[in-house]
C-alpha cells in the first residue's frame, strides 16, 4: 500500500501536458484521495517544456514534491530534465516511438502513438492511453478513469476511453504495479485552483460585476467567471486596459453592484491612482493581485511573493485599506468572500494577494458555501438630506446608491465636506482624514473575530516558522520531514497586520525563521515594521519557483545549525 504518490507528466506546450496532469489528478481525487498539482510552463504557446507535478495522498496534500516516483514523458526533454528528480527505484514511462530512455530508473516504454493509430485518433489523444497506464500503475479503477474522461471530453470521450483502456491493458500485461495507493472512504472534494476558489468565494459574497484585462497568472479568473457567468449570475467585462478596468469597477460599485478586478504586478501597478481614489471616495472594491516573477514583465508564467510591500503600501496618501493573502485554495475561497465583505462594510479597497503558485495550482479543497454570506452593510435609510460622507463616530457613513429618491450621492476624489463638495479648509480636511482613518479601528476590531493568522505544529516548540501566502504549503510539508519540533505561524492578513495575534508568539521561542519567495525578505521587513521584531533566520527563494518541501526542510535544518 502506498501512502502517497508523486509523479510528473512532461512534454511540449500544445501537447496537452497540463490537461493530462489535471485528469490524473481528478482521477486520484475521485478515489477519495487528496491531490496537489503544480503546473510549470513558459510564456509561449507551442513547444518549450511543460510539466505537471502531481502529488496524492490519503492525508492532506499541501504541496507538490520535486522528487517523484514516476515520470510520464511525452518528449525526450522531460526525461533529460527531470531524471534527477526520480526517487531511487522510480520509473520512467514514455512513448516508445518518440523517446528513448536507458537511465537508472525502470523504463516503461509504451507504443502510445501506435495505439492512437489503431483507433484512428489524433496524436493528442495518446495522453489518454498514458493516463490508462498511470491508472494501472497506481491500482486505480478504470471505471473512475472513464468517468473523468467522459466528463471532460463529452462527445469526444469514446476514443479517449478506448485509449485509456488500451493503455491500462498494455500496462497490465507488461508492467508491475508501482503499488496501490491507500484509499480513504469519503466523498471526493472538489479539485480547485486558487483562482477558481477566489472566483467562487467572491460570488458567495455577492459579486455581480467582474472586470479584468488578461494578465498571467490572473487570467484564469477571467476565463472561469466568464465561462460561468450565467450559472453564477455575473456580468463580466474585458475593457481596453487596466486603468479602465479598475475605474469601471469603481463605477459599478458606486452604482450599487459588488465588483472585483484582478491582475498581476504590472497591471496592478497601473491601478495605483485608482486605489488611492477608492480610499478617498470610499467607493468599495476588491482587487486581486496574482504575483508572478518580477520585477517588471519578469518571469511571466512563474511565481513569486515579491509584491508584498508594494501591495501593502499601494496608492498615494494615507487611507484605510486591507490586504489579505490566502495561503491555500480553501483560504482563497473564504478569504476572498471576506475581502468583499470587508470592502463593502468599510467602503475601502481590499486587495487579495495571491501568486502563480496558489492561483494556478490545483488542490483538493473543502468548501462549504453555507459558511460564507454577504454580510450586512450600513445603508442609509431614506434619501432625504443624504450626506455621502456624513461624519460618524465609527467613521463609516451610511451607503446609498444612485436611484434612491431624494438622495443626492456626491462622491469626490478631491477632499470634500460631508456632502461631497470639494473643500480646502484645514479644519475640514482634518475631520475628513480622521473620519476615514477611524475605520481602521473598526476593521481591526472586526478582524479580531476573524481568522487573521493560523498556527500549526507544536504549541510549545522552541522554533517558530513565520510565513505567509502560498509558501504555507511547502512549510507544512517540510514540517512533516523535520525531526525537530516547530510551531508555524501563518499570517493571512498583511494589512492591517494582526499584531495582537503575532506578538504573542514571537518572544516565547528561541528561533524565528521566516520563509518566503522573494529576495529581500519583505515579510520579515513588514514584521519588523509592525512589531519591531528582527528575524535573523530568513529563508528566501527567488528563482521564481515555489519551495520544494524537501529542499525547504534542509534549509530550515541548516539555518538552525
Amino acid at each position: 500500500m502506498l501512502d502517497e504518490v508523486s509523479l510528473l507528466v512532461g512534454g511540449k506546450a500544445g501537447e496537452g501536458v497540463r490537461s493530462t496532469g489535471y485528469i490524473i489528478g481528478r482521477i486520484l481525487n475521485r478515489h477519495g484521495l487528496n491531490v496537489f498539482i503544480r503546473d510549470d510552463y513558459q510564456s509561449l504557446i507551442q513547444g518549450g517544456h511543460n510539466f505537471s507535478q502531481i502529488r496524492s495522498s490519503s492525508k492532506e496534500t499541501w504541496s507538490h514534491y520535486e522528487k517523484v516516483d514516476l515520470i510520464a514523458a511525452l518528449d525526450q526533454k522531460t526525461i533529460d530534465l527531470h531524471e534527477k528528480e526520480l526517487v531511487s527505484n522510480g520509473r520512467v514511462l514514455f512513448d516508445s516511438e518518440e523517446v528513448k530512455y536507458c537511465g537508472s530508473g525502470k523504463a516503461l516504454s509504451i507504443p502510445l502513438l501506435k495505439m492512437v493509430e489503431e483507433i484512428k485518433g489524433l496524436k493528442i489523444m495518446r495522453n489518454s492511453a498514458l493516463i490508462g497506464v498511470v491508472a494501472y500503475l497506481y491500482g486505480l479503477d478504470l471505471t473512475k478513469v472513464n468517468a473523468v474522461l467522459t466528463k471532460i471530453y463529452r462527445e469526444k470521450a469514446p476514443k479517449n476511453l478506448a485509449l485509456a483502456k488500451k493503455g491500462y491493458e498494455y500496462a497490465e500485461k507488461n508492467f508491475d504495479r508501482i503499488g496501490e495507493i491507500k484509499r480513504i472512504d469519503r466523498l471526493p472534494k472538489p479539485l480547485l485552483t486558487g483562482n477558481q476558489a477566489i472566483a467562487l468565494g467572491a460570488v458567495k459574497a455577492g459579486l455581480k460585476v467582474y472586470i479584468a484585462y488578461p494578465m498571467t497568472p490572473s487570467t484564469s479568473i477571467l476565463h472561469y467567471l466568464a465561462g460561468h457567468q450565467d450559472k453564477l449570475g455575473l456580468t463580466v467585462v474585458q475593457p481596453e486596459n487596466e486603468i479602465a478596468v479598475i475605474i469601471m469597477a469603481l463605477g459599478a460599485s458606486y452604482a450599487g453592484a459588488r465588483s472585483m478586478v484582478a491582475s498581476s504586478g504590472g497591471g496592478f501597478a497601473l491601478m495605483q491612482e485608482a486605489i488611492s481614489m477608492s480610499g478617498m471616495t470610499e467607493v468599495p472594491l476588491v482587487i486581486v493581485e496574482c504575483q508572478r516573477g518580477g520585477p517588471s514583465t519578469g518571469v511571466a508564467t512563474y511565481t513569486s511573493q515579491a509584491d508584498l510591500k508594494f501591495v501593502v503600501n499601494a496608492g498615494h496618501g494615507d487611507f484605510p485599506k486591507v490586504v489579505v493573502a490566502p495561503g491555500d485554495t480553501e483560504e482563497a475561497f473564504y478569504k476572498t468572500a471576506e475581502a468583499l465583505n470587508l470592502a463593502w462594510k468599510y467602503q475601502i479597497p481590499v486587495i487579495v494577494l495571491s501568486d502563480k503558485h496558489l492561483s494556478e495550482s490545483y488542490k483538493t479543497t473543502s468548501i462549504d458555501e453555507n459558511n460564507v454570506s454577504k454580510e450586512e452593510v450600513k445603508m442609509a435609510n431614506g434619501g432625504g438630506g443624504y450626506k455621502r460622507y456624513e461624519l460618524t463616530e465609527d467613521g463609516i457613513s451610511p451607503l446609498a446608491f444612485p436611484g434612491t429618491p431624494e438622495a443626492v450621492i456626491k462622491v469626490n476624489s478631491y477632499e470634500h465636506n460631508p456632502s461631497g463638495y470639494a473643500i480646502d479648509e484645514p479644519e475640514l480636511i482634518n475631520k475628513m482624514q480622521e473620519k476615514r482613518l477611524r475605520k481602521y479601528a473598526q476593521i481591526a476590531a472586526d478582524l479580531r473575530s476573524r481568522e487573521t493568522v493560523k498556527i500549526y505544529g507544536e504549541k510549545d516548540a522552541d522554533n517558530l516558522i513565520v510565513s505567509w501566502g502560498s509558501a504555507k504549503g511547502a512549510v507544512l510539508e517540510a514540517m512533516k520531514l523535520l525531526k525537530r519540533k516547530f510551531k508555524f505561524l501563518h499570517v493571512i492578513y498583511p494589512k492591517p497586520f494582526p499584531v495582537w495575534e503575532v506578538e504573542k508568539h514571537l518572544d516565547k521561542v528561541k528561533n524565528v525563521i521566516s520563509v518566503e519567495c522573494n529576495s529581500t525578505g519583505q515579510f520579515a521587513s513588514l514584521l519588523r515594521e509592525e512589531t519591531g521584531f528582527l528575524v535573523n533566520k530568513k529563508i528566501l527563494k527567488y528563482d521564481s519557483r515555489p519551495f520544494d518541501p524537501e529542499d525547504l526542510a534542509n534549509r530550515i535544518e541548516r539555518v538552525l545549525e
Binding site: 453564477l232 449570475g233 458606486y254
Partner: protein, 281 residues
C-alpha cells in the same frame, strides 16, 4: 416641477469663463429631461475629470462622481453596466478627455455604450495654469512650450467619427439655448453620445470673440446627420465653424448586448455554487 438643481458650493470660475454657459445649459437640459419624463432626478449621475471643468459637479444638485483626471468615460461606463436605468453624463476637459484619457474615449465610442460625454474644449490645460493640450493649435505658446506648440491639433469630431461614435456633436458654451438642446438630444440618444463644446477660457485662451464671429448652425443648413462623409467634411471647416449634430445613427448598445435586460445593481440573490463545484469533482 422645478427641480432644486443649485448647490451651496461657491462658483470659482473666472469671470466670463465658458464653463458658466455649459453649467446653465446642463441644468436646463436636466430640468427638461426630467419634466418630459425621460428620466428621474435620482436616476441622473454626472461625473467629471480634473480641471476647471470639473467644478461643474459641485454646482449641480444631482448624483455625481468627481473622478480622476482622464477617467470619466470608464467611471460612467461602470455605472451604466451596473445599472442601465441610470442616465450618466460625463464632463471632461480637452486635456482630460483627449490627452490623459483618450484611450477611454475611443473605446467608449467603439463600444457604443449608452453614456454621454460633454467636453469643455478650451484648447488648454486651464487649471494647471495654461499648457497646450491635444486641441491647442500649432504655435500656441505656453509656459511649458515657450516656443509654441509643435503638434498639429487633434480634431475631436474626426476622432469620434473614426472610433464609431453614434452621436457626434459640437456646441458653443455661449449659445446656451442651442447647447441645451444638444445636451438633451445627446442624453436621449440610445448609445454613445459626444459633444465637443467650444469653451472660451478667459484667462488662458480667450476665443469668445473669434468664435462668436464664425459660428453657424450646421443643422439649419440641411446637413444629413446619417452621412458619415458629410459629417467628416463639415468637421474639416475652419473659416466658419459649424455647431450642431454632425452625425447620429443607431447601433446596438454595449450594455443591451452585455446585460440582455439584467440589472446587476438590483440583483440581490446569491446563487448556490454547488452545481459549479460539482464540475470539479
Amino acid at each position: 416641477m422645478k427641480l432644486e438643481l443649485d448647490t451651496p458650493a461657491e462658483k470659482t470660475w473666472c469671470r466670463g469663463c465658458g464653463d458658466f454657459g455649459i453649467l446653465t445649459a446642463v441644468k436646463r437640459a436636466i430640468q427638461e429631461l426630467v419634466d418630459s419624463g425621460e428620466t428621474r432626478h435620482e436616476n441622473i449621475v454626472i461625473a467629471s475629470g480634473i480641471g476647471c471643468h470639473n467644478k461643474i459637479v459641485d454646482y449641480i444638485n444631482v448624483n455625481s462622481f468627481d473622478v480622476l483626471h482622464g477617467r470619466v468615460p470608464p467611471i460612467i461606463s461602470g455605472m451604466k453596466i451596473a445599472n442601465p436605468n441610470l442616465k450618466v453624463i460625463g464632463f471632461a476637459g480637452d486635456g482630460d478627455a483627449y490627452n490623459e484619457g483618450i484611450s477611454h474615449l475611443v473605446y467608449s465610442a467603439k463600444r457604443n455604450i449608452d453614456i454621454t460625454m460633454i467636453i469643455h474644449d478650451n484648447e488648454v490645460f486651464a487649471l494647471t495654469t495654461g499648457q497646450a493640450t491635444a486641441t491647442s493649435s500649432l504655435g500656441f505658446s505656453t509656459k511649458a512650450m515657450p516656443k509654441g506648440n509643435i503638434e498639429v491639433p487633434l480634431n475631436p469630431i474626426h476622432l469620434m467619427l473614426t472610433s464609431g461614435a453614434t452621436f457626434v456633436a459640437r456646441g458653443f458654451s455661449f449659445d446656451i439655448k442651442h447647447l441645451t438642446s444638444l445636451i438633451k438630444e445627446a442624453v436621449k440618444h440610445h448609445g454613445f453620445s459626444f459633444i465637443d463644446v467650444l469653451q472660451p477660457c478667459k484667462t488662458y485662451h480667450d476665443t469668445t470673440q473669434f468664435l462668436r464671429e464664425r459660428i453657424y448652425y450646421l443643422n439649419e443648413k440641411g446637413h444629413d446627420t446619417k452621412d458619415f462623409r458629410a459629417a467628416w467634411e463639415r468637421a474639416d471647416e475652419k473659416e466658419r465653424i459649424p455647431i450642431g449634430i454632425f452625425y447620429k445613427i443607431e447601433r446596438k448598445t454595449f450594455e443591451d448586448q452585455l446585460l440582455k435586460g439584467k440589472i446587476p445593481a438590483y440583483e440581490k440573490e446569491i446563487p448556490s455554487i454547488n452545481h459549479v463545484i460539482e464540475e470539479h469533482i
